[in-house]
Amino acid sequence: MNVQVSQDGLFSLSEINPILFDLLREIVLCASSSDPRAEARFYPSPVEGNDIPELREDWSSLVQPELQAAFQQARDVVQADLRNASETDEGFAFQIPRHHADAWMSALNQARLAIAEEHQLTEDDLNENVLPAISGQREMILLQMNFYAFLQEWLVQMAE
């Protein structure tokens, strides 16, 4: 995969292996998870334990819909960028305008959090420095998590 950043802040990704491009396409799918564990992680309580029940209720009725809309908006931006991808002999290519970077960071984070919840990944799983050989679904999931983390880390550095 080749990444270039132009002076006007356009990120151009090219020569993307089809397998990695499939993983990129899965960002929105994973981030849109309806798994109750992912849902609980996306919309946590603003208080620990049973403190301030009225705030918890307000949060569910007022804040959660706003967050849902914001997360959906980020996923829509990512999907639109990927829809504009082209395929060449060297692989797939697409661009991320700088003002879409926050949407990408959000969608990647949503996807990583949802995958971690659905597959009950631990801190040890995620901190493995050496990727295991891909011999099953779990290794594939770890590869996906690492790929998304790499992209998110890169976007964070670009945002600095």
Partner: protein, 96 residues
Amino acid sequence: MATAGTTKTETREKISLDAPWNVVVHNDPVNLMSYVALVFRRVFGFARERAEKHMLEVHNQGRSIVWTGSREKAELYVQQLHSYLLLATIEKAPPA
């Protein structure tokens, strides 16, 4: 009786809202350390060193009090942190 009761409730509520509240960020295994520090810089306007200090506190101690002040503002900060998918809560600050 009803009127007096209402007055008491309103007074307690006022005291509760005026007391300082902490914004606490909790550790989770997924969020990247660099991302958490970036969010602190954006939401609170922290300098890089302060953002990284709080990020490391979250990572090493499981939680960090990142801001203390009025409840209304604390709730707004928690909402912003949730929009970045950080685990954040408010709690009443212990009396000084």
